[in-house]
């Protein structure tokens, strides 16, 4: 392809200032927050409208050029890596909050809106509402990214994952058609297309407009930090709280390894006998908050809690949240890189899953530390390593795969909230039979028969090479 002619075409679609073409600019868009990197790009384009994106994808289709839509690149599964080069369709300029409709408790946003910015915008209006999903990266990650990965966060136990908060989408399909699914009115006739397209990791089209639900802020919030001797005690506490009918907004678990790392980083002063920490956040009406907090304290006692602290209100609760929020920073002190595994098991299997993680860590001689969204059974074993040390990446990925195998064996999933991307393509076979994957691929082929839209992702590479041959 004549690259100058191609760039001129792209400029004609999005405007001359909105095609990045220098070597450095193209190089930086070959990365995201994963361990992977992409192939050399033709260009990075910054469209501002769905119509421009429609013209871009038609241009790509007519020339067989692959393209990848990208937000802020915080994904850690390689979902936004341009594995086959081509064009990056960067959505940073599509960052408008189009509408905040409090009467219907929803907002309409463009995909490039940053999570935190939407929350701020909603609250600036003086409204006691918020957009709930809160992936760890929310300060920089975008709503479009949430939709692509069906992102989770700390508050999924009570409030659900991104898909539960998306009412409708506008999407540019790979043939250039612009479709709307779902909408401000729920239960449109036909299948739940919104639900199907959420979590499709940018492989079925490019989302250009998103209708999100807003929820009322809770009237009261109480945060507890409970320390236990063992992970089992903490996990049993989690199950005990749920079975007595309480539904906390969050229940986060830290094991001894990460507690030690956090202690070194922010000097919490955990007692030596503490083997697990649980952060429990209750929210709801003020009327029953004290009684619910007492019930939580009682259940913790049943499982031999060794220390229990309570803070009332969101602000005060941050003190107790610190040891969880400091976790990833603390990991950064352990080595130059961190590989975060994202497995999920039925909640009651969490202790067994963590036991298996420990055994795998010993076998691979890796210093794995654990944080988990315990209420959801979503564990994040994290492996400090150094990508420049020979053999490190291979060993880390191998251990990660074994952890995911264990999660699937225990009735769970290879990814709770980060997505498959490039990282877990081959692990898809742990969850799905070849025929299940082939049928799943019918959806991809119905959208993108040429496999140009974020190509060669999600499905196992063996299957994709068969498809080519």
């Amino acid at each position: 392809m004549d690259s100058n002619a191609a760039l001129a075409d792209l400029e004609a679609i999005v405007g001359p200032q909105r095609v990045l073409r220098s070597r450095a600019e193209r190089a930086v868009y070959g990365y995201d927050a994963s361990v992977f990197r992409g192939a050399e790009l033709l260009a990075v384009v910054l469209p501002t409208t769905a119509e421009q994106i429609s013209r871009l994808v038609v241009w790509c289709r007519d020339r067989g050029v692959p393209y990848v839509a990208r937000g802020t690149g915080t994904g850690i599964s390689g979902g936004a890596i341009p594995t086959h080069g081509g064009v990056i369709i960067e959505l940073a300029l599509m960052n408008q909050v189009l509408e905040i409709d409090l009467a219907n408790r929803l907002a309409v946003v463009q995909p490039g809106v940053v999570n935190q910015d939407l929350k701020r915008r909603v609250q600036e209006h003086g409204y006691a509402y918020t957009y709930v999903p809160d992936p760890g990266s929310q300060v920089v990650s975008t709503i479009g990214g949430n939709v692509a990965t069906n992102a989770g966060g700390m508050h999924c136990l009570k409030y659900g994952i991104t898909g539960n908060h998306i009412l409708g989408l506008e999407m540019v399909l790979p043939d250039g058609d612009i479709v709307t699914v779902g909408g401000k009115a729920v239960d449109q006739p036909g299948a739940d297309l919104t639900g199907l397209l959420v979590g499709s990791e940018g492989t079925l089209g490019i989302v250009t407009k998103i209708i999100v639900r807003l929820l009322q802020m809770p009237e009261a919030v109480t945060t507890h930090l409970a320390l236990f001797k063992t992970v089992d005690d903490a996990a049993n506490t989690v199950s005990g709280i749920i079975s007595c009918g309480l539904l906390p907004a969050a229940m986060e678990l830290l094991d001894k390894s990460i507690m030690q790392a956090v202690d070194k980083a922010v000097h919490v002063g955990f007692p030596a006998e503490a083997g697990a920490a649980l952060i429990i956040e209750l929210d709801g009406f003020s009327d029953d908050m004290a009684r619910n907090a007492d019930r939580v304290a009682e259940i913790c006692k049943t499982y031999d809690v060794i220390a229990f602290e309570t803070e009332e209100g969101i602000e005060a609760g941050q003190r107790l949240w610190l040891c969880r929020r400091a976790a990833f920073g603390a990991m950064a002190r352990l080595d130059t890189d961190v590989y975060i595994v994202d497995g999920c098991v039925p909640r009651t299997q969490l202790p067994e899953a963590l036991r298996r993680v420990t055994a795998i860590a010993e076998r691979y001689d890796l210093p794995i530390v654990n944080v988990a969204h315990a209420g959801d059974g979503n564990l994040h074993p994290s492996i400090p390593f150094n990508r420049r040390r020979a053999g490190d990446i291979e060993r880390v990925l191998e251990a990660g795969r074994e952890i995911l195998e264990a999660c699937v064996e225990l009735g769970g999933s290879i990814t709770g909230e980060h997505g498959v991307g490039m990282e877990k393509q081959n692990e898809m076979t742990l969850m799905f039979s070849p025929i299940e994957l082939q049928v799943m691929r019918r959806i991809k082929l119905a959208h993108d028969p040429d496999d140009l839209c974020n190509p060669k992702k999600i499905f196992p590479l063996s299957m994709l090479s068969e498809a080519v041959s």
Binding site: G152, C156, V186, A191, L196, F285, D288, T348, S413, M431
Partner: protein, 449 residues
């Protein structure tokens, strides 16, 4: 060429055994959709047999209509092809009830009331309907039926975690799983929600359960006008309350069913509150105060059996089998436009012989309306289609839609049941890849699939 009923019956008998395939008059008549009857009724005993029946149907280019408990077969136009009724009546095993993880996996033919029976002792429930519901789990799933308490507990799309489906070419597949957070690959479970079986037969499903609330009250309040009732509903929705349902009902069709008196033209507000004793008491007090300030004429608070009865009436209203003298329409709008939708519906068209009866879920933005048809009206079908067209055009401006849920057969075959749907083009693409022969429920789903 389609085999003769006798030949088809013998092939299905060979697959399923003589005791699970019928061609007698009472059985086929009992599986009629409108006046269309299948040649054979087949009742597989396992998912593998469902797949085998579908494979046969695909090979022979037969029309198959899956049949759960048969409570919602009136949805959609009658099937264009109907050779086999695929009864799921033997798929009634609960495969896994994991109370500690609040999940339940059951075969598609399990009735919701069975789930209640199993989970109530552990103070858990599946909030997709009332405790006595005879609807099957598979039926609820493919008709996208959520419970009236959706506002608090979520709807089908929030509660469904996994499916097992049989595809027309005989594949048997599982998607989703048993955990809430699971983002491995496309969430194909969602393709089956509201699909009316167009993309495969759901043989089993996994749901997340909810804990029963400690306390539960239902506030029923009569208002002199629909507008006042609506204003109260909006105020309740906007207050710092977390009701499970905020519904408004018309006097027509409801007056005798309520604990408060209603006269023609009036409306009643029904607010369910679930939660702890303290929070329910407080919400009740605030709810009552809001209603009083909006001109309530009478109020009643229900609990226990009375509440259950009223809850059941609300669920049944939305999902009961059709009365042949009625046109039932479901209107979806953003919640702030419910009042407009009610205004459109209350302008009773000429083909109505009595006032329109409705149940409006003001929290969700969904109105179920029943229009008593004047059988004497000239050119009824043309009148109804014209009326549908006009309310659809006006709802479209309000980001709403209207679908026909039931109508007399002579009428439904002449109506545009689903209306235009922006997702129809995608659904067509999927249909051609999932059911290229058009075996399943042909012509019944959105877009004429």
């Amino acid at each position: 060429m389609t085999p003769s009923p006798t030949a088809l019956h013998s092939r299905l008998t060979a697959l399923l055994g003589a005791e699970n395939a019928w061609m007698d008059e009472p059985t086929t008549a009992g599986h009629a959709v409108a006046s269309r009857r299948p040649a054979v009724v087949a009742a597989p005993c396992a998912a593998e047999q469902v797949a085998a029946v579908l494979e046969l149907a695909s090979r022979e280019k037969l029309g198959v209509v899956p049949w759960g408990c048969g409570t919602q077969m009136h949805l959609g136009p009658p099937p264009a092809e109907y050779d086999v009724a695929l009864s799921l009546k033997h798929l009634t095993r609960v495969l896994d009830y994991d109370s500690a993880n609040l999940t339940l996996t059951a075969e598609a033919g399990v009735a919701l009331r069975e789930v209640y029976r199993l989970t109530l002792p552990g103070r858990q429930f599946l909030p997709l309907g009332y405790p006595g519901s005879e609807a099957s789990l598979g039926g609820l799933l493919v008709t996208n039926t959520s419970g009236v308490k959706r506002l608090r507990y979520g709807g089908m799309r929030d509660l469904l975690l996994g499916v097992r489906v049989a595809l027309p070419e005989g594949e048997l597949l599982r998607y989703g799983g048993r955990v809430v957070k699971n983002v491995a690959g496309y969430d194909l479970c969602k393709l089956y929600i509201g699909s009316l079986g167009a993309f495969g037969v759901v043989t089993e499903a996994t749901f997340r359960l909810a804990m029963l609330p400690e306390d539960e009250r239902l506030l029923a309040v009569a208002f002199p006008t629909v507008a006042q009732g609506m204003a109260a509903a909006t105020a309740v929705r906007s207050a710092a309350l977390l009701p499970s349902t905020v519904a408004l009902v018309s006097a027509a069709g409801w007056a005798d069913a309520l604990p408060v008196g209603l006269e023609a033209g009036q409306a009643a507000l029904l607010v369910h509150m679930d939660g702890s004793h303290e929070s329910v008491q407080r919400q009740l007090a605030e709810g009552e105060a809001i209603c009083t300030s909006h001109g309530a004429v009478q109020a009643a608070t229900l609990s226990g059996e009375e509440l259950l009865t009223m809850w059941e009436r609300q669920e049944v209203w939305r999902t009961s089998a059709p009365d042949p003298a009625l046109l039932q329409v479901r209107v979806g709008v953003p919640p702030s436009n419910v009042e407009t939708a009610l205004g459109l519906l209350d302008e009773a068209p000429r083909f109505c012989r009595e006032p329109v009866r409705w149940l409006a879920d003001a929290g969700i933005g969904s109105v179920t309306a029943r229009l008593p048809l004047d059988a004497q009206a000239d050119d009824l079908a043309a009148q109804v289609q014209a009326w549908l067209g006009s309310i659809r055009a006006r709802l479209d401006d309000r980001q709403g839609f209207a679908v026909v849920e039931s109508a007399p057969e002579t009428l439904i075959t002449q109506l545009d049941v689903w209306g235009a749907s922006s997702g129809a083009s995608l659904l067509k693409r999927y249909k051609s890849r999932f059911d290229p022969q058009g075996v399943l429920n042909l012509g019944r789903c959105v877009g004429g699939l």
